[in-house]
């Protein structure tokens, strides 16, 4: 038998997953991209990988970060989506699609598309179309929130520790001329509204 405490914790977890609270749910599962399958390559420091399975619960929960109206913080919005083999891509597509919550603001510039996303050695390479730069309206506040929302949404997944933002298949050094994003970045906890 399971110790009572573990029983309760798992019970709670299960209930949150099954009920999904009052989350926004997306109706249509995103279409997988060509050549896209987050290859979870085991890094020497992290141990074995697990194989996906189509059996079991048919939904998965994810957190996507959007900006507060005062442009100071990020807030995580919970989604429950149909289970698939490319959750990181799904999370990015939800970020690009934007929020329907009137209290929050979408930070991805209009027209931006996710071109590809892959994961290698715990680094996610998130590749966007050039609208990410071209349609960016400038300003440090917007650039900080944009970078942090991408990084924080992806680092919610336990096998993604860092994120390299790319545009049209190439690494970029900055989006609008303030931030230095030439290398993989890790999660920023302080910007999340507590």
């Amino acid at each position: 038998m399971f110790p009572k405490r573990i029983f309760l914790v798992v019970m709670l977890l299960l209930m949150t997953v099954m009920l999904g609270g009052c989350d926004n749910t997306t109706q249509q599962p995103p279409v997988p991209l060509q050549n896209e399958n987050p290859q979870q390559q085991a890094a020497p420091i992290e141990g074995a990988t697990v194989t996906p399975s189509s059996v079991g619960q048919d939904t998965m929960k994810m957190t996507v970060y959007y900006a507060t109206k005062d442009a100071l913080n990020l807030v995580g919005e919970q989604y429950v989506v149909p289970k698939n083999t490319h959750p990181a891509q799904t999370a990015m597509e939800l970020l690009v699609a934007g929020t329907k919550n009137p209290e929050l603001i979408s930070v991805i510039p209009a027209g931006t598309k996710l071109r590809n996303i892959s994961v290698k050695d715990h680094i996610a390479y998130a590749d966007f179309s050039d609208q990410l730069v071209k349609n960016n309206k400038g300003g440090s506040a917007s650039e900080i929130l944009l970078v942090a929302s991408i990084v924080n949404t992806l680092t919610e997944f336990h096998d993604i520790k860092k994120v390299q933002i790319m545009v049209e298949g190439k690494k970029i050094d900055t989006i609008s001329g303030h931030m230095d994003i030439g290398e993989p970045l890790s999660r920023s906890e302080k910007i999340i509204k507590k």
């Binding site: 619960q57 957190t63 300003g139 506040a141 900055t174 230095d180």
Partner: protein, 388 residues
């Protein structure tokens, strides 16, 4: 009403599913989730402990099974920390001390023996050299992290995490070591006379920067304010270098964004400037957002002081909302070698502020704020000795 026994059997079968069919990527505990404050209340200042309570049913000998590490660069602040994670079969009690003779960070791990892992693991070499695992009496062990130089109590954190079967994670001891701020000491004198000050008007030439609802361009405002700052500083006897004096790209037309930013830092780095001040105007999609903010990158103990002084000056003379000062990994403040700030005077996306920022009078007020802030910085920095 639910029949409890039935409920339990449904639950157990679901649990079995969960154990055997784990999705490829599942939700993580976030980087700092479940992190207790590692400082016990009212104890010896340099002793930290982390305790995870034992769980019934531990069968095997508890041991340190494996260790891994990564250097993390904060997405917003650009600061680095090394995270060392040690996997243990069961919960342990950890206390830590800094030993200046090493210099090293010593973790005493109670309740676990050294298992089948390397005795010594080489770390990044900059934040920490290596970690060694040492057998102690009974069921105890030690992890000693060798450091390149002694760090402060506030530069590291030790905590434990519970096991997480869904994500195949065992009990863990986590050590976070921040890359310490270099202890540079500048011998600044009070006053603006003879100071070498680099003023960087943001954007320019082919890059307009942010554009307001009434088409005012950021590059025009930043240059206008910068020219007024230059005139005031020269009146006070300072030597002023501008990264650009007109509406041009600093590196050259159609240069890459990074060459453009690098060119601005070179002006300061090659001329042994005392301080570097980058002037920008902010923007956001919500037009009601407004106010002044100043950003710094903590590469010395003077950058935050410079940011506070300039922010205070700007808020006093401009009167816009005080959004505060923030650490940020911005290229020009990160890669200049002297104390540097990037000031976002107001929001060009806010129609009222856009209008203000385009006037001679308001630009003069903002310039006054920057000059007052610089003057205050030099007098406060002059009072600081080496022991910041």
């Amino acid at each position: 009403m639910l029949n409890l026994r039935r409920f339990r059997s449904i639950f157990l079968s679901l649990l079995l599913f969960m154990m055997f069919f784990v999705p490829q990527i599942s939700m993580a505990e976030t980087l700092d989730n479940n992190v207790p404050d590692a400082r016990p209340a009212a104890s010896v200042p340099i002793l930290k402990s982390a305790i995870s309570l034992p769980v019934a049913g531990a069968a095997t000998t508890n041991q340190l099974n494996s260790a891994r590490w990564l250097v993390h660069k904060d997405a917003v602040e650009g600061t680095s920390k090394l995270r060392l994670v040690i996997d243990t079969s069961d919960p342990v009690i950890v206390s830590s001390t800094l030993d200046g003779n090493g210099p090293q960070l010593v973790l005493d791990i109670k309740g676990a023996v050294v298992g089948d892992l390397d005795d010594s693991i080489t770390l990044d070499g900059q934040i920490a050299e290596k970690v060694r695992f040492i057998k102690k009496d009974g069921n105890n062990s030690q992890a000693i992290v060798d450091l390149p130089a002694m760090i402060d109590d506030g530069d590291y954190k030790v905590f434990t995490l519970k096991s997480d079967t869904a994500n195949k994670k065992s009990f863990r001891v986590v050590v976070d070591i921040n890359k310490p701020v270099p202890k540079v000491v500048y011998n600044f004198t009070p006053g603006l006379r003879n100071k070498v000050i680099v003023i960087d008007p943001g954007h320019g030439g082919s890059d307009p920067g942010a554009i307001g609802p009434n088409k005012v361009q950021e590059k025009t405002v930043t240059l206008g304010v910068a020219q007024k700052v230059k005139a005031m500083l020269e009146n006070a006897g300072a030597k002023v270098l501008m990264t650009r004096q007109t509406d041009v790209d600093v590196y050259g037309p159609n240069a890459s964004a990074v060459d453009e930013l690098k060119a601005r830092t070179i002006v300061a780095n090659n001329n042994k400037a005392d301080v570097f001040v980058s002037i920008h105007i902010n923007a956001f999609s919500n037009p009601t957002v407004g106010g002044t903010a100043t950003y710094y990158y903590q590469k010395s103990n003077y950058d935050a002081l410079l940011a506070t002084c300039i922010q205070d000056g700007l808020v006093a003379t401009g009167g816009l909302q005080d959004r505060g000062t923030y650490p940020a990994g911005f290229y020009v403040i990160k890669r200049t070698t002297m104390p540097s700030i990037l000031a976002e005077l107001g929001f060009i996306s806010n129609p009222a502020e856009e209008k203000l920022l385009s006037t001679y009078q308001f630009q003069q007020q903002m310039a006054q704020g920057i000059v007052q802030g610089l003057d205050k910085f030099f007098s406060q920095a002059a009072k600081r000795g080496g022991g910041l």
